[in-house]
């Protein structure tokens, strides 16, 4: 079922939590709302779920206006941040709850609960109480409960926040597989950009109650529409300058030729992996010299902070191979360069 959010405004006193949000999620699509805490993403989710009534705007589910409909009338399955499992009910009772509320017959309930538990690989856990399960297992129960009644839309509110990294990665893939199998339209909320990149069909980046950009992960990552998106999604070097005569001058580097763009103030985004160092930089069209301030080993790569001569501090990441020595030592001077094709230009207001 497709979801359409149109012009949603929500104020709490004189704080505007949502300042006019438009968003469309296609049938079967996995859309992630990514934003820092306080950006309004939870309020948006609650509005879609029906726990908040917006001051302005409308919510359409499957083409039907549900703006004022109570949560139970919306056909939406939701997984809460802390799972919100009913602690006094067994796992089976928890999963059966939405079916009971819909008046499903008892044998049918039993069959579907079993099926849902199998789907999340928890067959045989039905008689346990939530507190007897691990965090990951609880998470999966919450998921089973949210999908058992075949909702048209699945809402996931930072469901992996409380889990350790390894468990989180496993579950992320599992949820994604499940979502694909059930072809469930899914709205997923997180502040973890990595998670957003891994899981989503599309990402909507939110800041201060507004959506800054919507697009597939690769596009949002490579071509952020605003400085905020560039900064929030992945690591970046953001360099302010003015485009004039087809080039931008930045301290510490030779001018960056950017032909065919209108003149004016711009911000240049350079991802750390686009920077070349030492010998690799010699042939780069844009070059400068810098001194290594810090090197951090990340296993497959090494991250360096480089202070450019008469210029900004740059973040670089270069792949490591066991056979090669590390590219530089702290305090060492080296050449830093990049190709203009690797630069993404963000116009500045």
């Amino acid at each position: 079922m497709e979801l359409s959010v149109q012009g949603i405004v929500r104020r709490f006193g004189n704080v505007t939590a949502l300042g006019g949000v438009d968003l469309d999620v296609a049938e079967g699509e996995f859309l992630t709302i990514l934003g820092p805490s306080g950006s309004g993403k939870t309020t948006l989710l609650k509005t879609v779920a029906g726990f908040e009534i917006p001051d302005e705007g409308a919510v359409f589910l499957g083409g039907e206006d549900v703006t004022l409909a109570p949560p139970r009338k919306r056909d939406v399955g939701m997984v809460f941040q802390n799972y919100a499992l009913f602690p006094h009910m067994t796992v089976a009772r928890n999963v059966a709850f939405p079916l009971e509320m819909r008046g499903v017959r008892r044998e049918e309930i039993r069959r579907r609960v079993e099926e849902a538990l199998r789907l999340v690989e928890l067959q045989g856990f039905g008689e346990r109480l939530p507190r007897q399960l691990s965090g990951g297992q609880q998470q999966r129960v919450a998921l089973a409960r949210a999908v058992v009644f075949g909702p048209g839309l699945l809402l996931l509110d930072e469901p992996f926040g409380a889990l350790d990294r390894k468990l989180r990665e496993g579950l992320q893939l599992e949820v994604r597989r499940l979502q694909r199998r059930l072809r469930l339209t899914t709205l997923f909320i997180t502040h973890d950009q990595e998670e957003a990149l891994i899981m989503s069909d599309r990402i909507a980046v939110m800041d201060r109650g507004r959506i800054e950009q919507v697009g597939p992960p690769a596009e949002v990552y490579a071509r952020p529409a605003t400085r905020f998106v560039a900064d929030f999604l992945g690591e970046s070097n953001l360099l302010d300058g003015v485009l004039a005569d087809g080039a931008v001058r930045i301290g510490g580097f030779t001018p960056v030729p950017l032909p065919g763009l209108p003149p004016g103030p711009v911000t240049l985004l350079l991802r750390p992996e686009a920077l070349r160092l030492a010998e690799a930089a010699e042939a780069a069209p844009c070059r400068g010299r810098g001194r290594v301030i810090e090197t951090v080993f990340l296993g497959l790569s090494v991250k360096l902070r480089v202070q450019m001569e008469d210029g900004p501090e740059m973040l670089a990441r270069v792949p490591l191979r066991p056979s090669l020595p590390p590219p530089a030592q702290d305090g060492e001077w080296l050449a830093v360069g990049f190709a203009p094709e690797d630069v993404h230009v963000i116009p500045r207001g």
Binding site: R72, V76, F80, T90, A92, F97, M101, L129
Partner: protein, 285 residues
């Protein structure tokens, strides 16, 4: 002793003892000012190794029927308190910080005045020519004054007013511990608000309900000023008879026997309440 397992157990034991040490002053105080006098009192009831006082308490229909009445009154007060307190506690738990502070203040305000004063205040309010009856008459709602005082109604009103906070506070505390996301989840999963409440919020607040019920019930059984003043003499509680035996007839052994019976009945009911609510809190599959 020298095995690593034993020394580890010993370390654990030591930690428990350290924790116990913190509770020791309170335990000692309870022991001295509560447990010891109670035991002394109970031992009085079997003075001389005879059970005659218990025999009298059990065989004389008077004491049995008064005890029965007391239990019924306590149960009624508990039930009324529960019905009145739950919505208040629920509202308080959802009222936000300022609302809750004001609400709790209003709730606890009566504690600043003595039970005796409050009981007299009810005399003024509920009398034949009291505030309530006069208002009802002035509005033309009644012709003759309602008998609100000097009967069971007066006793129940007075006791409920005094005991209400003891019911509200534990339920409020229990409701505060119930994650509001749970009822939200229930509603999101298809439950109308009242079903979400009945299936989720209410069962999870049962610890508070049972604590409140036990507290109010036990306190009710000990009441004698309020029933004596507001009951017009027609309502007799077992505690009134015990007080009479102690103060007026100095028959301490018999008073002790009555107290022992009351204590036993109270403990039994206390256990029962606990068992019922423990059962209710977990839903069978």
């Amino acid at each position: 002793m020298s095995s690593p397992g034993a020394s580890r157990r010993l370390a654990g034991r030591r930690r428990e003892l350290a924790l116990l040490a913190f509770a020791t002053p309170a335990l000692l105080l309870l022991g001295v000012v509560f447990a010891w006098p109670v035991l002394r009192l109970l031992s009085l009831s079997v003075e001389g190794g005879s059970l005659e006082h218990f025999e009298k308490a059990a065989l004389d229909g008077l004491y049995v029927s008064v005890l029965g009445d007391s239990l019924k009154i306590a149960a009624a007060v508990t039930a009324i308190c529960l019905v009145l307190a739950y919505p208040v506690a629920f509202w308080l738990s959802r009222a936000g910080r300022i609302g809750a502070a004001l609400g709790l203040f209003a709730l606890l305000l009566p504690f600043w005045t003595s039970v005796l004063v409050r009981t007299y205040a009810w005399l003024v309010l509920l009398g034949r020519n009291g505030v309530v009856n006069r208002a009802l008459r002035d509005w033309g709602l009644i012709e003759a004054p309602l008998p609100l005082l000097h009967n069971m109604a007066g006793v129940l009103i007075g006791m409920v007013q005094v005991l209400l906070p003891y019911m509200v506070l534990p339920i409020y505390a229990a409701l505060l511990r119930v994650d509001p996301d749970l009822s939200r989840a229930a509603e999101g999963l298809g439950a109308p608000p009242w079903r979400a409440f009945l299936r989720v919020t209410f069962p999870l607040s049962l610890t508070g309900v049972s604590a409140g019920c036990a507290l109010v019930f036990v306190l009710s059984l000990g009441f004698f000023i309020t029933p004596a003043l507001l009951g017009g003499g027609r309502v007799v509680m077992i505690s009134m008879l015990i007080e009479q035996q102690v103060r007026e007839f100095l028959d301490w052994p018999f008073a002790a026997a009555l107290s022992a019976v009351l204590l036993l009945v109270t403990l039994a009911i206390y256990g029962l309440i606990g068992r019922i609510t423990r059962g209710g809190r977990l839903e069978a599959a």
